[in-house]
Symmetry: C2
DNA sequence: TCATTATATCATGAAATTATGATATGTTAT
DNA sequence: ATAACATATCATAATTTCATGATATAATGA
């Protein structure tokens, strides 16, 4: 047991799972959604989402690490944007699948 | 505050976040990956993944609720499969994005 | 320089997710 | 009918994620 191949698969799947974890939080999902409309500063996101500044900053850091967003600084403002077109493709596919399964998803109390 | 529009956005994003939560666990991700190769019984997944039977069954229930997989029963066996082509498209896009960001993702200790 | 504003970081408690072990359900074969 | 096997369900404990509040860093303007 514990063959090298299996170990590799475990590590790989942890990587991908972590990637999807980026969109598995409502606030982070909403941030990505807003950024698809164009870059926004941290403050703008805080205002729009009505969440605390530290919360937004933390989530942005997470999204940046996962490769969903990038950022640029302009004076004391930091603007976040989505540069990878594949991110919006993933979101759109999810939208379609969810549309066909909305009724089920909300009832998932298992985990 | 608490305008109807914002409430709707919150509910929507919770739905989508829950959907992505399906792939945000290494075991569930691995299950989907294996099923992309063709349908498998619960027992086969248990053997291949080396996880407990209850764990696999629970994860499968979760994936089913999210619309990632469907199942058919044949005698005492239950076979799970991926019917929605968009699931594999999402996986492939993720694979590409992760490939460009692998170094960063693993260092995401924030959350 | 000092005050103000914008953003980032971090410790901690609260809440949610997950694995485990036990048990239940259902099917097949004897 | 009952034993054996496959799968599902569920309570609970362990782990992880998350929000909060406090503090730090950094840029701008007075």
């Amino acid at each position: 047991m514990d063959e090298p191949l299996k170990v590799m698969h475990v590590i790989q799947s942890e990587l991908y799972a972590k990637f999807f974890q980026g969109l598995s939080n409502p606030v982070r999902y909403r941030i990505v959604e807003l950024l698809l409309d164009g870059e926004k500063s941290v403050g703008e996101l805080v205002n729009t989402l009505g969440a605390s500044q530290s919360q937004i900053s933390n989530h942005l850091a997470c999204l940046k690490w996962c490769g969903y967003v990038s950022s640029r600084q302009d004076g004391k403002y930091v603007y976040y944007q989505i540069t990878d077109k594949r991110v919006s493709q993933i979101m759109e596919l999810a939208r379609q699948v969810v549309a066909d399964n909305a009724a089920h998803i909300n009832s998932c109390t298992r985990m």
